[in-house]
Subunit: 447 residues, 2 copies
Amino acid sequence: MQKSLNIAVAGAGLVGTLLAIYLKKIGHHVQVFDKNKDIREIEFSGKSINLAISTRGWKTLDDIGIGDRIRQLAIPMDKRAIHKVDGSVTHQKYGVDGGSIYSISRGGLNRIMVDIAEEFGVEFKFERKIWDVNLSEPSLFVGKSERGDWEELPFDKIFGADGAFSKIRARMQKQNRFDYSQYFLPLGYKELRIPASADGTHKIDKNSFHIWPHGDFMLIALANEDGSFTCTLFMPFEGEISFENINTEEKLLHFFAEYFPDTKDLIPELTTDYFKNPTSSLVTTQCFPWTYQDKVALLGDAAHAIVPFYGQGMNAGFEDITEMYRQIQKHGDDWQAVFENYENVRKPNGDAIAELSFRNFIEMSTKTADEMFLLQKKIEAKFTALYPERWLPLYDRVTFSLRPYTEALAIGDMQRDVMNEIMATPNIREKWDTEEIMQKMYQLTEN
Amino acid sequence: MQKSLNIAVAGAGLVGTLLAIYLKKIGHHVQVFDKNKDIREIEFSGKSINLAISTRGWKTLDDIGIGDRIRQLAIPMDKRAIHKVDGSVTHQKYGVDGGSIYSISRGGLNRIMVDIAEEFGVEFKFERKIWDVNLSEPSLFVGKSERGDWEELPFDKIFGADGAFSKIRARMQKQNRFDYSQYFLPLGYKELRIPASADGTHKIDKNSFHIWPHGDFMLIALANEDGSFTCTLFMPFEGEISFENINTEEKLLHFFAEYFPDTKDLIPELTTDYFKNPTSSLVTTQCFPWTYQDKVALLGDAAHAIVPFYGQGMNAGFEDITEMYRQIQKHGDDWQAVFENYENVRKPNGDAIAELSFRNFIEMSTKTADEMFLLQKKIEAKFTALYPERWLPLYDRVTFSLRPYTEALAIGDMQRDVMNEIMATPNIREKWDTEEIMQKMYQLTEN
């Protein structure tokens, strides 16, 4: 399909490793550079949020034949479990057709993917930090320290999959006419842990995405294979309820007792976890172009880091690979065409999922606890069952379809307007499932 | 007022040099670092746009007592001169009170300001490039080349006035929770030149800001002291009429003959200028925070690079200095308070002038040629004369007042809505100066 080339991938994370597998499979010589130690030999840092693999991610994994090996590590979640302060739990099914998203730990997934990549013949160069890039050669300047000796390594192509603070992109940013932005939420997050029961089972339902929604802040928990849960507390950095203010054991215990009472026996190491684990920040980065001539291309977070509230960061990164591969199949050795089409297709989708992810914090942390939101979901589900060609809920289009994110954003806005009108119907609580409401929706979705 | 400190200023441009004068005047030891040769010994690069000093800029110069020396080099412009393709020229007065803005060449201004700064006792370190910054010391890593030897120089404070691609800001960008964006217009610019007449006089009116407006592209000309004009051609990079397409002498001459026929005898070296001078890009950068603890602060383009269409880039940078000085007078040695208040006051104003500058391209390149725009200006002027406390036109508030840019943007939006309603009055062309229209404006500005 293509002449075999000497290719460097920056970053041995999920996107870099999977991209390397694709490039190796089609005949290239592929080396992956990462500044960290071999991730199979290190503890992950206590700052991870569990991943939720959904339809787009599975497609990229399945297309190269490794989906089933990953499925063995993944736990299906078919619903949200909403925890209230009175201790009650309500469930909200994902997907009108009963779809599931799959919880997996970042570390576990990354390790097995590096194993698989090595089986394919990909070479990993760990502890080799990239200090600079010559875009026009292209070449990488690699070394142990910035002030020590650097080695200049020439390649035919360089792919930057080195994350939200990509070194490859940092060099591109110095080019004329390179648009770039990084924006941090005033909200941070911290990893906590629910260990397994003594018998190794999960203490709460492993097939639910657990949420404790409280508006400005929330706690979530996703199951791991070993019986534990990775929990993430999202909270403002500053303000009344904030990481800055909750700074003593007493305040912490009081805070959890007030807002998350049913976690008392679930998180035994709360104090240790909270004060030991770092408070991480949440950044959205956007840039353009994503490529330099026919020589360098960015994928994944390096091109479009997003906030985690739609669970699409990794899935969007994997979909970049699917698109790159599609363009390679189409344009072969014409890498200029491959890169141009890749960035023109993916850039608007990167922007769309950034916007959707940004908005979804409100849905997760506020609306999931709101009775009218639940009613709206029921109306949508009923209408979808009656007229499936007329309505696919936004969440389903993002999570359980391969339709472009741009389409999800546009149709989602249209659907929001329709639902605002429907929900403003007098006595909607009583007559939500009547023929009248269904016909009103039918008319509003005409054209 | 303050304990004398050892201060570094990065950048010997206009803002860096003027800031250094202020800091030296209040007793600090000040060194200014610049990667370029002494600007008094070099030719400027043929990529400059003449500056227009207006009220905010003069205030900062006058407050430190150097305004009059600059005035000797500056040429007042009290009006726009709009050139049409039929060769006719119409004039539009600046300012309801007959204010002027002052044309000055960047090179000429920068040279005299370095002279003045040396008279004050500021030390300049030219050809000393900053390769890295240690924000928390703070210290600068300075050297001739990136791979050669660097010297680490410690300071009490570091001020980054090193322009749109600031090295100081680049280091701050790597800090957690640092918001940053750079956005390029799809439009570039190129410097051209109208030389003086044989007798040393100006070939066209020196007291006008000359504009040849054509919507997507435009030519402007501002007078220099030596009888010449610095012209700037603004045009899209790509597209039908673009720098990419106008790439032969034949196309260039045809283009100028069609759109700028009255420049035929004014720009004798058109072909040489056009093909020799670089095509420059136009960037807006925004960031926050502008300071690091009580150690490092950004001013001018390093904090907020804007597009040139409001003529406020340098004026806004100088106003940063005025605000910094105001906070120094207020808080003395409490540099934490100085920096915090400085950035909290100036950041919203930087964002506001960025937005206003962005919008003003449309006004300059399109509306100045539009009959209804001129009518609107006349209505505004009449209303201002009748009710000066009710209406200060947006241009006047930005250019001829010291009111915050944020206020200009907010009131400007309100005024736009009022004028849209006024201009929609039936037969407005006939009755624009009637009592009815004035009373309608009076009512619309009630509150």
